[in-house]
């Protein structure tokens, strides 16, 4: 292995960090083997590396595939996979960089409101002070209506969070699938 090959493998390894360690080192080892075969074939290292394509792109093809394929185990596994996929997709483009975190934040806030609002509604019904429903100092929800009103608001938040979650998940799948389709063929001489 010469310097250029070492650097290539190092960059590949670094960019494969989302993968479990055994898969990661297996992939690096396989690419290392490929480079050595090419060199043994009498090809210059630069040509072998060029044939493999950019190390980061190669790593992304592995990582995207990993996110698409690994089965979800339980709600916790599913949640962590979701966060991992979101992080990966955020890094794939300028649009994703804004869309994914923003949408995720909105979904989180809506979900939080859906849970917290009914609690506040109950508290307000029983006269706990300091809970404002409506325009502060102007129009207010009558105290008796606190709970039903909070439920309606919570339901709206829940629907928003659900739709947002579906949208985000669809978007993640779309981008990941796009990456998996990222098998650049050499353009055939016509």
């Amino acid at each position: 292995m010469d310097d250029a090959a070492e650097r290539y493998l190092e960059e590949l390894r670094r960019n494969l960090s989302p993968l479990p360690e055994d898969e990661r080192s297996d992939a690096v080892r396989e690419i290392e083997s490929h480079i050595a075969e090419g060199q043994a074939d009498g090809r210059p290292t630069a040509a072998v590396l060029a044939g493999l394509g950019d190390a980061r792109t190669l790593a992304r093809a592995y990582v995207a595939d990993y996110h698409l394929r690994v089965p979800r185990d339980g709600p916790l596994g599913s949640a962590s996979r979701f966060v991992l996929s979101s992080t990966f997709v955020s890094g794939t483009g300028l649009l994703s960089l804004f869309v994914v975190p923003l949408l995720a934040l909105l979904i989180f806030l809506a979900g939080l409101l859906a849970v917290v609002t009914p609690v506040l509604g109950v508290l307000r019904t029983f006269g706990v002070p300091g809970i404002v429903m409506g325009e502060p100092g102007d129009w207010q929800v009558p105290v008796v209506w606190s709970f039903p009103a909070s439920l309606a608001f919570a339901a709206a938040c829940a629907v928003f969070a659900w739709v947002g979650y579906k949208l985000l998940r669809g978007y993640l799948r779309l981008v990941l699938a796009g990456y998996r389709r990222l098998l650049p063929f050499r353009s055939v001489a016509r």
Binding site: L58, P184, R186
Partner: protein, 116 residues
């Protein structure tokens, strides 16, 4: 859609079939597989793309792999078909034969020509 993009989509779709077929002939390691594909110009891919695809085939249980020392040089990761992979290859081959025959007929039969 540009013709170039169309043709690379077709080749992408058939690459998995070709890889399974090549592995069915004999156990192969990545470099061997890439070199085998090189022999046909339309199948020559960017070499790196074969490896993530092999990883996926392995994860889906279509191929299995094992590392073996080679006489000279580094260890090689050999792939062979699993029974599931073999079934799949059989069905894909049949589908492909049917599809390519149908396409050929639409393109070249007299009736299709008179409508075209």
């Amino acid at each position: 859609m540009r013709a170039g993009e169309w043709s690379s989509q077709i080749r992408r779709g058939t690459l998995e079939l070709c890889i399974l077929a090549l592995i069915a002939q004999k156990p192969r390691y990545g470099y061997d597989l890439v070199s085998a594909l090189e022999r046909w110009e339309p199948l020559a891919t960017t070499e790196g793309t074969v490896y993530p695809l092999l990883r996926r085939l392995q994860r889906e249980g279509k191929v299995e792999a094992s590392w073996q020392e080679s006489a000279a040089g580094p260890p090689r990761k050999y792939y062979r078909l699993t029974p599931h992979g073999r079934d799949l290859l059989e069905r894909m081959t049949a589908d492909w034969a049917e599809l390519s025959e149908a396409v050929r007929e639409t393109l070249f039969t007299e009736e299709a020509k008179s409508h075209g």
